[in-house]
Amino acid sequence: MNIAVNLTPAELALGGMMLPHARMEDWRWTNLRTLIDRPYPPGGKIAVAAKEIARLRDTSPLARMPAARLVFVNGAFSQGESRFPASGEVGIRPGLPRLSASDEPVASLNANFATDGLTLTIRSGANIDTPIELLFLATDADPRTIATRVAVDIGAGASATLIETFAGEGSYLANSAVSIALGEGARLDRVTLERQAPGAIHLADRDVTLQGRAVLRDFTLTAGAKLNRQNARYTLAGEHADARIAGAYLLGGRQHADTRLVVRHAKPHCTSREIFKCVMDDHARGIFQGKVIVDPGAQKTDGKQSSHALLLSETAEFDAKPELEIFADDVVCGHGATSGDLDHNHLFYLRSRGIPEREAKAMLVAAFVEEAFETIGNDHIRAALGEIATGWLASRGGAS
């Protein structure tokens, strides 16, 4: 059967690449064909003054934290703006890493349009105390697609803290592909801070593989961009691997965020936990699609997932699809999902003790997302991101 499709202006600008739409199961709630309503042609080089970059960089709540910082500006790795890790056990190789073939739309967007990237390697057994931040900045310029690609390889028994921060100004489509390999017994604390410009689109694809006894702590705060889609695949490829994956949404206005998570237990005796806390105000729409797969033979799997939504306005929306796909019998798996508004009893109790309504609401929002933030191992990062959550409601004005 041959179906004639009229390409949208956005698709034409991407060289005729067809964007995902609601008839595709994984995209049922995020129809990019209609949501991306203007063209974002592949971006070329843009000259930016150092002062501009510094100004943008300093808006990050993590700007003053001691860290090695690898800076991308408008999709180009800027060695000049970067502060390389002091340790000789960290290797950084600029240039596009290889991307494993995928027909996933966000990944293929990256395969077609990524302009720059790097490969980061941590030597086996090395313990890197200072966090390494990958900072992706976009400056205010014509609407365009900015695509970057990063590969991370953590050697056996090594440990590190890795931050990905996305920030910018203006109107752009940011596409990011990250692949991470954790060696035998490696440990990675990973934090993503998505604070893209209010007019931006963020489409990210992430692929993480854990070997035996590897430990992953992964937290993503989704607060920016008008349209956000994050794919993440985690494969527990060795026995006794342990992954804790958390996220929080703080969405207002007409923001739209969709996370599609797939956790695959390929080997026995692994543990996975997912905890997502989604707060939506105004007309915002949050979506969480999480799937736990237990392969045949992956006995003694312990996999649990939870997603909870807090809707602060009657016009906010939440959609969830927490899936289990299980092919081994000796497992303990489960998921929970809830959606609702603020608990009126909680609000009354706080107010009966003299806390004004706005403040009480802000406290309850912060308390709601708290459990997800506990996944962040680094105290400094947790505190800095926690402040975003605490101040979020107040910073948005309008909300009552």
Partner: protein, 504 residues
Amino acid sequence: MADTDTIELVKDIDVDKYKYGFTTDIESELAPKGLNESIVRFISEKKREPEWMLEWRLGAYRRWVEMTEPTWARVHYPKIDFQDLHYYAAPKSMAAPKSLDEIDPKLLETYAKLGIPLKEQEILAGVRRQGESSELDSEGGGETAGRVAIDAVFDSVSVVTTFKDELAKAGVIFCSMSEAVREHPELVQKYLGSVVPQGDNFYAALNSAVFSDGSFVYVPPNTRCPMELSTYFRINERNTGQFERTLIIADRGAYVSYLEGCTAPTRDENQLHAAVVELIALEDAEIKYSTVQNWYPGDKEGKGGVYNFVTKRGDCRGRNAKISWTQVETGSAITWKYPSCILRGDNSRGEFYSIAISNGRQQVDSGTKMIHLGKNTSSRIISKGIAAGRSDNTYRGLVTAHRKATNARNFTQCDSLLIGDKCGAHTVPYIEAKTSTAQFEHEATTSKISDDQLFYCMSRGLSEEEAVALIVNGFVRDVLQQLPMEFMAETQKLIGISLEGSVG
């Protein structure tokens, strides 16, 4: 009590696991194989239908021709050749409607063998026996609770409907769909297709074009149906499909409880069953619909068995309406079935209680949709899936609250139990909250029967198989309790049988 009953019953299991697999040797009248407009006309003519019914069927057929089979369910089977089936089969002796005394004794015998006596005096005798047997029964209501009116459907036709006169006294219409089209056209025209439209999905369109028999129930305003209603479906003929259509209307303030049971002979070929059930509950009305589905599941290697592609939907059309689905799914090679509730009226309530057991090579993809449209609507989903052998068992469900469904409430609990390491259990829920005042709670777990539990039971003298049956009965208890009590014991027995051979 219930548990010891189960153990006793499990002990009695025939060597042949599927005890309903016998064939009735009866001469049938068949429509020629294949589906086209003239077959649709043939069926309509056989049923002596009015013109409007034929037009409705033809409309559905024309839509069906344009549609493609759905592929999103987690079930795999060779492509069905829809032109290689008979769309109508009826015992020749059923050429004209008969009174009970005139029914072909072979048919009566068939139903007796299935444990479904069709003569009213036998039914009463049977119930008395049952009433003495178990303490479970004493939990339930008064004298009339044990009586069940039955519509027996054999291939494409209704054989007989019992207790019709007594029901008529209460104003309740309970008859075959064919009869309803002729005798109560105003009701059929008003409600048929109003919940599941002709073009709703591929199988619903197919059913709308060729539906054979099924039950029609109308309960007038402020009437409590004086007894349980039940339909017993039997596919006998080779290479046929059964396409029954059931329509139940509970008018304002009415109450009705309805149960369907299904079996089919053991045959090497697959049989197709594509039913449509529509429920309409008006203001303050309540419909309780229970299914014990035990179609032939195919043999251990997956040969034969019924393809069960069913569309069931209820519409809570008025304020305070309530629709409750309870299903026990143990049969069929493939099950594709999502009994749903449209909660349109304010304060209306939908419930879905399900036990789905798969063994051998069975594939189950089943669940529900709760669509909250009205204010203060509530729904509850309890699903218990048990996968054994090499089967796949999927729960698929949708809970959605529309923007105006202020204060919608849903609670969902989906539990899966795996027996053996060759089977799969899957959970695919969709949750959509379009208003902040909706409170949704969804929980799912997957586990196996713990070795500790098994050991504990066995140390008390149970065999492993008995222990499994016992534990599974405990696992499904919440749902079992929703069944009309007449069917609880039967169902517990069925659970034991379905899991036979799943351990060791």
